[in-house]
C-alpha cells in the first residue's frame, strides 16, 4: 500500500518527467505549477511522521525515508518557493528568456529536480539517505545556478569546489559516525552519540559542521553564494535565495540539536566555563549576520545586494536554533519561513525592474515609482519584512530571536543582531531609493508596469508575508511540529503572537493600532489640510537654478558617504584573501604531488603506496 510520502515523492518525480518531456509545450508552467500545488496539498495533509516504502539495504544498513515535522516545515517552503518561481516563469518573462537563447525546458527541469532532491534530503531517515539527498541537492542547485548565461555558469563553477569539499566532509563524518557508534539510523544515533567522548564528538561536529555550513554559507565559506545566487536566471534566483541555502541549516540543525543535543554540545569547552562549542557556533552565526549585511550595503547591483542579505539572514536562523530555548528556536525556524517569502518577492521585483528597464545597476535607475507602482508596492513590503519592521512577518521572527537573547542574557550577541538589523535597514532603503525614488530618467519615462504574470506571484508572496505577519500563529503551528520533531521545547503561542507578562507580543493589536493610526493620520492630512497640487519633478528647489531634464539632479552613487568615511577602512576583503590563500595552497600542493609522482620514480612510489595500503588493511 503506497504511503502518503510515497505519493509525494512520486508526484515530485512525475514533475521532473513532465518538465523534461513536455518542455516545449507553450504553457508548461501551468502543468508544473499544478504539480507543485498538488505536492503542497499532500504535504500539508501529511500526518506525521509518515514513513515511505522506498528503501533498500546497503552493506547491512537499512536505508529508508520518513518525513517528520522538521522535514515537512522545510518541504512546505521549498514547494511553495518552486510554485512561485514557476508562476513567474510562465508568462512574458519565460518568453523573453527563451528568445534570449536560453533553454526554458532546462530551467523548468532544474527547478523540478531541485524540489525532488530536497524532498529526498528532508525525508532522510538515516545518514546514507541524508547523504544521497545532500549530493542530489548540491548538484541540482549547481544545475539551477548554471542556467541563464555565461556569467551564471562561471559563478556556478566557483561553487563546485566548495560543494565537493562539503560532500567529502559529510562523507568523512558518516564514516566516522559509523566507526564510533556502529549505526547510521537517526533513532539509535540520537541515543548513542551523546555517550561518545569529547574528542570523538568534536571531530564529528567539525566534519559535519564544515560540510553543512558550506552549503548554508556561514562565514568562512560564504564567498561563493553571492555571485552564484545573483547571476542565476530570474526565477531560479528567487528559488535559490529563498530556500536552497537553508538545506545546509536543516542538516546542521539536525546534527546539532537531534544527534549531539545542545547541552552535550555545551560540554565541548575551549576555555572551561567561559567559551564552549555552542558559543563558538553562536558567534559565527552573529558575525554571519553583521559582515555580509554591511557588504550588501556597498553593493551597486540590486541582485548582489539581495544575495548578500541572503547570507546575512542565515545567521539569524542558526543563532535562534543554537540559543535553543522555546522562543529562540521558534524565532530561528519561523525566520526560515518568513525570509523565504520576502526574499523571493524582492528578487522577483528586482527582476521585474530588470525585465522592463534592462538593468539592475542601482546607479542607472531612479524614479520608477510612478511607472511601476505594483512592483514598488511589492519591493516596499519586501524591504519592510527584510528590515524587520512591524506590519510584516520578518519582525515577528526577529523579535522572537531578540527576546530569547534577552531572556538568556547574551548582551553582546543581542548587540550584534541589532547592528545587523540596522545595517539591513540602511541597505534596503538604498535599494528602494535608488530604484524607485528620486528623479525619473528620460529614457525610463515610457516604461510600463511589469506584466500580470510577473506581478501576481510577487503580490501573492508579499500577501503571505503580510498575513503571517499580522497573525504569526498560523506558521507557528508548523514551527511547533518542527520543534517537537527536533526535541526542542515547544513555544506556546496565540494567533497574534506570544502571550507573556514579561513582555509578550500581540501582532493583531500592534498592526491594528498601527493602521488605526494611519487612518487618523490620513484623516488629519486629507481632511484638515487644504488641497495640494501635483507638480513635475523638475519644479524643484535647486538654489534658484533652472532645472532641465538633461542635467541629472539625483543622488544615488556612494549613498552612505558619511558612514563609509567611518567604516570604509574596515572593508579589507580579508575573506577573499583567505580563499585565495587556500586556493594557492592547493595549487602548490598539487604541483608538488604531480612533480614528485610523475618525474621521480613512478613505479617505485606506486609499489610503496600499494603495499602500505595493503598492510594497513590487514593489520586493521
Amino acid at each position: 500500500m503506497t504511503t502518503p510520502l510515497d505519493l509525494l515523492l512520486f508526484t515530485a518525480a512525475a514533475t521532473v518527467a513532465g518538465a523534461f518531456a513536455l518542455g516545449r509545450w507553450r504553457d508548461i508552467a501551468w502543468l508544473t505549477g499544478a504539480f507543485y500545488i498538488a505536492q503542497l496539498i499532500q504535504l500539508t495533509g501529511l500526518d506525521l511522521p509518515s514513513a515511505s516504502h522506498a528503501g533498500f539495504t546497503l552493506f547491512g544498513q537499512l536505508v529508508g525515508w520518513q518525513m517528520d515535522g522538521f522535514g515537512r516545515f522545510f518541504a512546505i517552503i521549498t514547494v511553495g518557493a518552486a510554485a512561485a518561481a514557476t508562476a513567474y516563469m510562465g508568462g512574458e518573462w519565460g518568453e523573453r528568456y527563451r528568445q534570449a537563447g536560453h533553454s526554458l525546458v532546462w530551467l523548468h527541469g532544474a527547478l523540478a529536480i531541485n524540489v525532488l532532491a530536497m524532498l529526498l534530503l528532508l525525508a532522510g531517515n538515516d545518514l546514507i539517505a541524508l547523504f544521497i539527498g545532500w549530493e542530489l541537492t548540491s548538484w541540482a542547485s549547481f544545475l539551477l545556478m548554471a542556467q541563464g548565461g555565461e556569467r551564471a555558469l562561471r559563478a556556478a563553477l566557483r561553487y563546485v569546489p566548495y560543494a565537493m569539499g562539503a560532500a567529502m566532509a559529510v562523507l568523512g563524518g558518516i564514516v566516522l559516525t559509523h566507526a564510533f557508534t556502529g549505526t547510521l539510523q537517526f533513532t539509535e544515533l540520537a541515543q548513542r552519540v551523546p555517550q561518545l567522548e569529547n574528542w570523538q564528538l568534536a571531530l564529528m561536529v567539525t566534519l559535519f559542521g564544515v560540510g553543512f555550513s558550506i552549503k548554508m554559507g556561514l562565514l568562512p565559506f560564504h564567498l561563493w553564494q553571492a555571485p552564484a545566487y545573483a547571476e542565476a536566471a530570474g526565477a531560479g534566483t528567487s528559488f535559490l535565495g529563498a530556500i536552497s541555502a537553508r538545506m545546509g541549516l536543516f542538516a546542521l540543525a539536525l546534527l546539532l540539536v537531534k544527534f549531539v543535543s545542545l547541552t552535550r554540545l555545551a560540554d565541548l569547552e575551549f576555555v572551561s566555563g567561559l567559551f564552549d562549542a555552542r558559543d563558538l557556533i553562536a558567534w559565527v552565526a552573529a558575525f554571519t549576520i553583521v559582515l555580509p549585511t554591511f557588504t550588501a550595503l556597498k553593493q551597486n547591483d540590486a541582485r548582489y545586494l539581495l544575495a548578500w542579505h541572503g547570507i546575512g539572514q542565515g545567521g539569524y536562523m542558526l543563532l535562534g536554533i543554537v540559543i535553543g530555548d522555546a522562543t529562540g528556536s521558534a524565532g530561528g525556524l519561523l525566520h526560515v519561513f518568513n525570509y523565504a517569502t520576502y526574499q523571493a518577492a524582492l528578487v522577483l521585483s528586482v527582476f521585474a525592474v530588470l525585465h522592463r528597464t534592462g538593468t539592475a545597476d542601482l546607479n542607472s535607475l531612479g524614479g520608477l515609482v510612478t511607472r511601476m507602482p505594483l512592483t514598488f508596492l511589492v519591493m516596499l513590503m519586501g524591504i519592510i519584512g527584510l528590515a524587520g519592521l512591524p506590519p510584516m512577518n520578518g519582525f515577528v521572527s526577529k523579535w522572537l530571536v531578540y527576546r530569547s537573547l534577552m531572556i538568556e542574557g547574551r548582551p553582546l550577541l543581542f548587540l550584534m543582531t541589532v547592528i545587523g538589523t540596522l545595517g539591513t535597514i540602511l541597505s534596503v532603503y538604498k535599494l528602494i531609493h535608488n530604484t524607485f525614488l528620486g528623479q525619473l530618467r528620460l529614457e525610463h519615462e515610457g516604461i510600463r508596469e511589469a506584466p500580470w504574470s510577473m506581478t501576481i506571484p510577487m503580490l501573492v508572496l508579499v500577501g503571505i508575508g503580510f498575513v503571517t505577519g499580522v497573525a504569526p500563529g498560523l506558521p507557528l503551528q508548523w514551527v511547533n511540529d518542527a520543534q517537537a520533531a527536533l526535541g526542542l521545547p515547544v513555544l506556546p503561542h496565540t494567533l497574534g503572537g506570544v502571550e507573556s507578562s514579561q513582555g509578550g507580543l500581540d501582532m493583531l493589536w500592534v498592526v491594528g493600532v498601527l493602521f488605526a493610526g494611519f487612518g487618523i493620520g490620513a484623516l488629519l492630512f486629507y481632511g484638515v489640510g487644504n488641497r495640494s497640487k501635483r507638480i513635475h519633478q523638475l519644479d524643484n528647489y535647486a538654489g534658484g537654478h533652472f532645472l532641465s531634464a538633461d542635467v541629472r539632479y539625483h543622488y544615488s552613487d556612494h549613498f552612505y558617504a558619511g558612514l563609509m568615511h567611518r567604516i570604509g577602512p574596515l572593508y579589507r576583503g580579508s575573506f577573499t584573501r583567505l580563499e585565495e590563500a587556500v586556493a594557492s595552497a592547493n595549487d602548490t600542493l598539487a604541483a608538488l604531488m604531480q612533480a614528485w609522482y610523475r618525474q621521480r620514480v613512478p613505479m617505485l612510489t606506486l609499489l610503496v603506496a600499494a603495499t602500505a595500503g595493503l598492510g594497513w588493511m590487514v593489520l586493521q
Binding site: 500581540d506 488605526a516 487644504n530 495640494s532 507638480i535
Partner: protein, 299 residues
Amino acid sequence: MSFAGILIELTLMPLVAFTIGLFMVLMMRKIAAKIQRRVGPPLLQPLYDIIKLYSKQTQTSHGLLHDIGIVMAVGGYIAAETMVPVPGMHGIADKAGLLTLAYVTMIPSLGLALGVGQCANPNGSIGISRALTAMLAYDVPFVIIIFGTAWFYGSNNLVEVVAAQQAGGIATWGVMQMPILAIAGLFSLYAMLGKQPFEIYVAPAEIATGPMVEMGGKFLGGLFVMQCFQLFTASAIYVSLFLGGGENWPFFIAKLFFIIAIPMSLAFLFPRYRTEDVLAAVWRWPVILGLAGVWLVMH
C-alpha cells in the same frame, strides 16, 4: 482592555502627547532664545505655526507617495503613542513591549524617507541617508539600554517596569539602581532628538534642511506634529525606564520637561558634527558606558 477603551485611548493618548510635545518645542525655542539673549517666541507659537501651515491655500505635492509618506509619519507616531504608558492610561503597552515600541517608532521615519524620496530632490536624499546613518549611530546605545533594563526588571513590558520602580519610591528608581546605564541612556536620548551637535540631517546651511526641502503647507505641518510626538516619545521612554514613570500627571510632566531640558540647553552651545564624527561620538563613550552598565546589572 475593552475595545471601546482602546478607541478612546487611541485618540486621547496622542492628543496628550501632542500638547505636551507642543510645549516641549516651545521650551526648546525659549531656551535657545535665552541662550542667545533674545526674548523668544510667544507662548503658543508652535501651535500658530502648525495651524498656519495646515491652512495654506496652495500646496505642492510630488505625488501620491509624498502624501502617504506624511500620513505614515504622523499616523505611525499616533500608533506609537498608545504603546507609551502614561499615568492612568496604558493603551496596548502590555501587548507590545519596549522593543516593539522601538521598532514602531522606526515606521514614521521610514514613511518620511519614502515621501522625501519621491520629492526627487538630492538634498532630501542626502538628508535621509544622513538620518539613517544617525539612526544606526544612536540605536546601538539605545538597544544596550533596552537590554540592560529588561534584564534588571526581568520584563520588557513598560507597565511592569514602571510598577517595579514605583514600588519603593525614589530609591527604586532606575537611575538610582543603574546610574551608569542612565547616563548612557541620556547620551542616546540626546543623539536621538537630533538637536545641534547631532543635527546632521536637517543641516540648513549644507543640505537646505534635508528631508524638509520640498515640504510646504500641510506636509511641513505634519513634520512639525511629528517633531512634537518625537520629543514626547523619547522623553517618556527615558522617564519610564529610569525616573520611575508617571505616578501622577504633575510629577510625570515635570520629569518629562526636566529630561528634555538637559539636551536642549546643551544643544545650542555646539556647532554641528560631521556624519562620521556622529558615529564616532555616539559609538565611543555611550556604548562603553552602556556595556559597563549592563555588565554591572548582570553581575
